[in-house]
């Protein structure tokens, strides 16, 4: 039973991170390889706001979330905006460069010490008892809830609101969308903002559960195969892909060799690339014969 709980928590972590990858890829066909670093920035922002506003933790969390959104929009406006229209290769290289820069900047601003936002907020993280003797920590439970809410919100947003439909349109055919009067820059900025918001949320929750240091970017990287397995432009795929990767990882840790956990997402990735490269729910890409 504990295994099932562990799988659900890990799947939730990966799902929350991979919806950011999917959002940006779907809307602008850019792989945002700085997602892990943006997660880190979101978590550090929480630490800063928590240290500043020690008395009111809820405001600190809210402020950190809003700041996360702003960072995403800023990244687009200052940097990625000039890359629209260029080769996708250049845009991805730009995100790599951004990631490197953010990693250096976070150490410069907040130093390499391991931080504990939980302490700064003054909250505690008790473990709740579930069915049987399976345990889950409060923050992990909140994380699962947050993932569910975020996904429901995103589905609703993309399916039913005007801006959501605009985003889908821009993703399907940018030229046609702009001809129809859809403000592409606005749509892209919104996509980046939402993606960074979810990344920041994921970073905050992970750091509340287990401390904050630079290794969080690895998690961001491991969530990338989850997005790919499901299909880089499908939100439902991201959910399913995260579940698959989480199941594989936890079961392999438990029954085979714990060291495989780092490599498992990428093994699954390679298998999927060979069998069905565009993922389970992604839109079909062309295949060349070799």
């Amino acid at each position: 039973m504990q295994l099932a709980v562990n799988i659900v928590v890990l799947a939730a972590i990966y799902a929350l991170i991979s919806c950011g990858y999917v959002l940006i890829y779907r809307v602008s066909r850019v792989l945002n390889l700085a997602h892990g670093e943006l997660m880190l920035v979101g978590a550090y922002l929480l630490y800063s706001t928590a240290s500043l506003l020690g008395g009111s933790p809820v405001t600190a969390v809210a402020m950190a979330a809003v700041l996360g959104l702003l960072v995403g929009v800023l990244v687009y406006v200052l940097l990625m905006r000039r890359m629209t229209g260029e080769m996708v290769l250049a845009a991805v290289l730009c995100t790599i460069a951004l990631g490197v820069m953010l990693r250096g900047a976070t150490v410069l601003i907040w130093s390499a010490q391991v931080r504990h936002p939980m302490e700064a907020l003054g909250w505690s993280n008790p473990s709740l008892v579930l069915i049987g003797d399976a345990r889950i920590s409060l923050i992990s439970a909140i994380l699962i809830g947050a993932t569910a809410v975020v996904y429901a919100a995103l589905f609703g947003f993309l399916g039913f609101t005007r801006w959501g439909i605009r985003m889908r349109a821009a993703g399907q055919n940018p030229l046609l969308a702009s001809q129809r009067g859809i403000q592409l820059h606005g749509v892209y900025a919104l996509a980046w903002g939402l993606s960074t918001f979810t990344a920041g949320l994921a970073g905050m929750l992970i750091s509340l559960d287990s401390g904050l240091d630079g290794t969080m970017t690895m998690i961001g990287l491991k969530a990338f195969p989850a997005a790919l397995v499901g299909g880089l432009d499908s939100l439902a795929g991201a959910l399913i892909g995260s579940a698959i990767i989480a199941i594989a990882e936890v079961l392999l840790i438990q029954f085979v060799n714990p060291l495989l956990s780092d490599v498992v997402p990428f093994f699954v990735l390679l298998v999927v690339l060979v069998i069905r490269p565009w993922g389970l729910f992604g839109s079909k890409e062309e295949l060349d014969r070799v």
């Binding site: 820069m101 990287l221 890409e285 062309e286």
Partner: protein, 355 residues
Amino acid sequence: MANASGYFRTSLGEDLVLLDTRTQKYSCAIFCALLLFAPFVAKPLFIDIANQVFLTAIGALALMLVTGFAGQISLGHAGLLAAGAFTAGILFKEFAAPIWVTLPASACIGAVLGLIFGLPSLRLRGLYLAVSTLGLHFIVVYVGGEYETRRGFSTGIALDPPSIGGWSLSDGRAWYFVLLAFAAGATLFSINLLRSKTGRAWRALRSNETVAEALGVHVAGHKLLAFVISSTMTSMAGCLFAYYRSFVSVEAFSLFLSIQYVAMVIIGGLGSILGALLGTVFVVLLPYIVEWVTAILPLTASISGLIFAINHTVFGVVMVLFLLFEPRGLVGIWQRLQNYFLLWPFRQTPLPGSR
């Protein structure tokens, strides 16, 4: 290639020649002379930097072949280097293999890895090679770590300097010449490859894939060839790296190393051999320059403890600046400089929209 003063070659023979004008021949001769005499007058630190540049250049040239011509980002460069280095280390520790066995073995391993990871991803349009090479990186690092632990070399594998007939290669100056030879060989190989039929096919598929396919160029096959050649070269560079440092350890091959190679290619300028070389020099020298600048400026000691972070930030900023404002990289700057002098006292203002 055409420069601003015009394109004057009228036969295939003229087109294939490497150096045609007298100026080019003289400046090449002077440059080679400088390179050959430098180690006798330079300080050991500079010889070490030069060695690093040569070693890195081989890897950068390999990456340029993939990125500049197949148009794909490879994030697994560190993994390929690690594969070559570990092949050398493992063969040395288990079988005491000499360098003339380990070097070809590394090349083979590189080729095999290139096939395994290139085959599924290069058939697709888009960034699938980037993704699969990321997987390559983690898998190679995992295998290397497992080997280190299972065989008890917890702090890494130490290698003896390579010996050829009793004379062992451990002096910095001797390494300089060996690495210079390898780097020059790799450069010549790349240039010749680009002038050959394969190179022309690559140029065609870079300009317009659909038209190239229509003309009979096998697009996916040539992309795969570029990646396999690139991974072979990189593996060999990894093997040399292992011998140069006399030490192989899995921690040296991080994702940041892959990103550094990608940066070399970007900063140098995509699609040109000279770009790979200029980019290498820039990226290898950048940390030393940053260190020197922070040492000169009157900052407190605690700032100098943050060198790593400063390096990262400066590195990222430089990459972004090049991508935004100088997409043709250092080669673009070089060509603009060249054109300025070629056309002086005239100036060329390129038509808007042209390259």
